[in-house]
């Protein structure tokens, strides 16, 4: 069955590409061989069900969230609260901690595990205040030279009355603008749902990583089905059309690296998922080390300016 073959090839390719120690020397030939195989069968599109499997894994209720990874990856964690304006938005967590012995700032969406926590955190859908909190912590990181690590996991920005009144769009735009202007190294990783502008607000980084069962998309499959098919139930068709899975995002040049997960998904073994994520983040930060701040900003800008396919 070509679908199964493609999935397993993509998995193996993703694993190879995320091996940090080999630096692509020893595995180059193997990587090329797999890529060729994949190219030859990619003519047969991944089926609706295969793409949908990624959507379901990305939304799996047991999937590790930002704080689950922070607990496993960051030492000496200190969470910071509040946007210094209106409130503390629980949909975004931010703080400082140690990674490989040096201080980093972490910002990320947080969905919440139990019903009450989910409601408190709006299912990880941030309001403008959440993005202002992220900006405020990025300001701090910039001031003291702390690298910024952002973890993305949100269905989208919160679609509420107050959120609109207090400038949801502007907050998302300013968060991107702040990320672009940072003079410190930045790494972002999509760890679950990378939903639209609400996700991108934390995604404009020097290195953008994506876990192999995460999704990153311009709109939810349900929203796209509603608009283009005028039928919410066509969500699988919509997802298959806009291809939100990590491997397509990698192929389109939107993410730099696919981070491998334990077989069956990150929820099967959060410790292993965290170890793999940690390696990828540390590796990315190391590759950015020593780059002058002006050069960081210039090449980050160049990277995002080059996004897109046109004729």
């Amino acid at each position: 069955m070509p679908g199964e073959a493609e999935r397993s090839l993509r998995e193996r390719l993703g694993r190879l590409k995320s091996l940090p120690l080999l630096h692509r020397t020893g595995v180059a030939a193997e990587e090329q061989r797999l890529q060729e195989q994949l190219d030859s069968i990619s003519r047969v599109d991944a089926s609706e069900d295969e793409i949908w499997a990624f959507v379901e894994l990305a939304r799996h209720p047991d999937r590790p969230y930002t704080l689950d990874y922070v607990e496993r990856i960051i030492d000496d964690w200190l969470e910071l609260h509040g946007d210094r304006g209106r409130l503390d938005d629980g949909a975004i967590v931010a703080g400082l901690g140690k990674l490989e012995g040096r201080t980093v700032a972490v910002v990320g969406h947080q969905k919440g595990r139990e019903l009450k926590e989910r409601l408190d955190r709006q299912y990880g859908m941030a309001s403008p205040e959440g993005y202002m909190k992220a900006i405020r912590v990025m300001d701090l990181a910039d001031r003291f030279g702390f690298p910024v690590v952002s973890l993305i996991d949100t269905p989208g920005a919160y679609p509420g009355v107050a959120a609109e009144q207090h400038g949801q769009g502007g907050a998302i735009a300013r968060s991107q603008a702040r990320m672009l202007s940072l003079a410190v190294p930045t790494v972002a990783c999509v760890i679950g749902e990378g939903g639209s502008g609400g996700a991108l607000a934390l995604g404009v980084a020097d290195r953008v990583l994506m876990q192999e069962n995460a999704i990153y998309s311009v709109i939810t499959p349900e929203g796209c089905a509603m608009i283009l098919w005028r039928d919410r139930d066509e969500k699988k068709k919509a997802a298959a059309a806009f291809k939100p899975d990590a491997f397509h995002c990698y192929e389109l040049g939107v993410v730099d690296q696919v981070v491998s997960e334990p077989r069956g998904g990150a929820q099967e073994d959060p410790d292993e998922a965290a170890a793999s994520l940690r390696r990828a983040i540390v590796d990315s930060l190391e590759s950015l080390e020593g780059t002058p701040p002006a050069e960081l900003r210039r090449s980050r800008r160049a990277k995002f300016r080059a996004m897109g396919v046109f004729s």
């Binding site: 920005a157 679609p159 509420g160 009355v161 959120a163 609109e164 009144q165 207090h166 400038g167 949801q168 769009g169 502007g170 998302i172 735009a173 300013r174 991107q176 603008a177 672009l180 202007s181 639209s196 502008g197 991108l200 607000a201 995604g203 404009v204 990153y216 998309s217 311009v218 709109i219 796209c224 608009i227 283009l228 098919w229 919509a238 059309a241 806009f242 291809k243 939100p244 397509h248 995002c249 389109l252 939107v254 900003r297 980050r300 800008r301 995002f304 300016r305 996004m307 897109g308 396919v309 046109f310 004729s311």
Partner: protein, 277 residues
């Protein structure tokens, strides 16, 4: 012999409410000929309702006569995902081009306004809802590049339903792409002025539309990240009449001014004078 029946379905179809003519004012019902509407800057002469203004007409009105030099005309949308919903994306593109005479949903170029140089980037809602795909992103980037090269400010007039879903994740990346272009513009100490027109929603609001150094809006324009229908569905209560409209955004401090079309040229000329170096 079979019984004759009257087909009542025909009557139902005929009694269904018909779409209003695009030249009929949705607020007061006044109707205008094409040339009347164009001569009035697409504003209703009776109730001041602002119709959507085509990008070409707006440029012709904003730019000093003969000063507009269009740029990046060769940039066109591709179809990286081979996207197909109810119809193929390529077909939608071709249809939009036929209907608007434009290559994509934005027109960019250099011009002067009251003798002062500026870079214009004007969006066209009639082209696939002014949606932002790779071509829109690229043309805006080139407009900013041209502005930096010639040291002139950028005036962006938005009218967009947001990211172009048919380009998938790449359309989301166009948000970051426009923000990156503005970062470069700002590094060169050049300003971005935004005129937000009806409607400016979704991705446009979460990127270049809200990053203007000065932001003005047209009266009654819908400006929202999430549109009122979606918000209404969620909160399940009646929203205020001006929800998501320019007037609300002015009250909440999101924009600097609401300007009827007739007042925009002098205001923009003043901005250009104040920021001139």
């Amino acid at each position: 012999m079979t019984e004759t029946r009257i087909d009542v379905r025909v009557e139902q179809v005929e009694s269904a409410p018909r779409e209003k003519h695009p030249n009929t004012c949705p607020r007061c019902g006044s109707h205008f000929r094409d040339d009347e509407l164009a001569a009035a800057l697409y504003v209703c002469g009776h109730c001041d309702y602002h119709f959507r203004m085509p990008a070409r007409a707006r440029i012709e009105w904003l730019a000093d006569p003969g000063s507009f030099v269009e740029e990046a005309t060769e940039v066109r949308s591709a179809d990286p995902l081979d996207f197909y919903d109810l119809r193929p994306y390529r077909e939608r593109l071709a249809e939009a081009e036929l209907n608007t005479g434009l290559a994509d949903a934005i027109v960019v170029g250099a011009a002067t306004l009251e003798g002062l140089p500026l870079e214009l980037a004007v969006m066209e809602f009639a082209f696939m809802g002014g949606s932002m795909g790779s071509a829109v992103g690229e043309k805006f980037v080139r407009a900013c590049d041209s502005a930096v090269a010639h040291e002139r400010p950028v005036l962006l007039v938005t009218s967009s339903g947001g990211a172009r879903m048919q380009e998938g994740i790449l359309s989301l990346m166009q948000l970051a792409k426009t923000v990156a272009a503005i970062d470069e513009l700002h590094e060169a100490a050049l300003p971005l002025f935004c005129v937000l027109t009806d409607p400016t929603t979704g991705g446009a609001m979460a990127s270049f539309a809200t990053l203007g150094d000065v932001i003005v809006a047209e009266p009654g324009a819908l400006l929202a990240f999430t549109g009122p229908r979606v918000v209404q569905e969620l909160v399940k209560e009646k929203l205020s009449d001006d929800f998501g409209r320019s007037e609300q955004h002015l009250r909440f401090g999101q924009i600097d001014e609401i300007l009827p079309r007739a007042e925009q040229r002098p205001y923009l000329a003043q901005l250009l004078r104040l920021f001139a170096r």
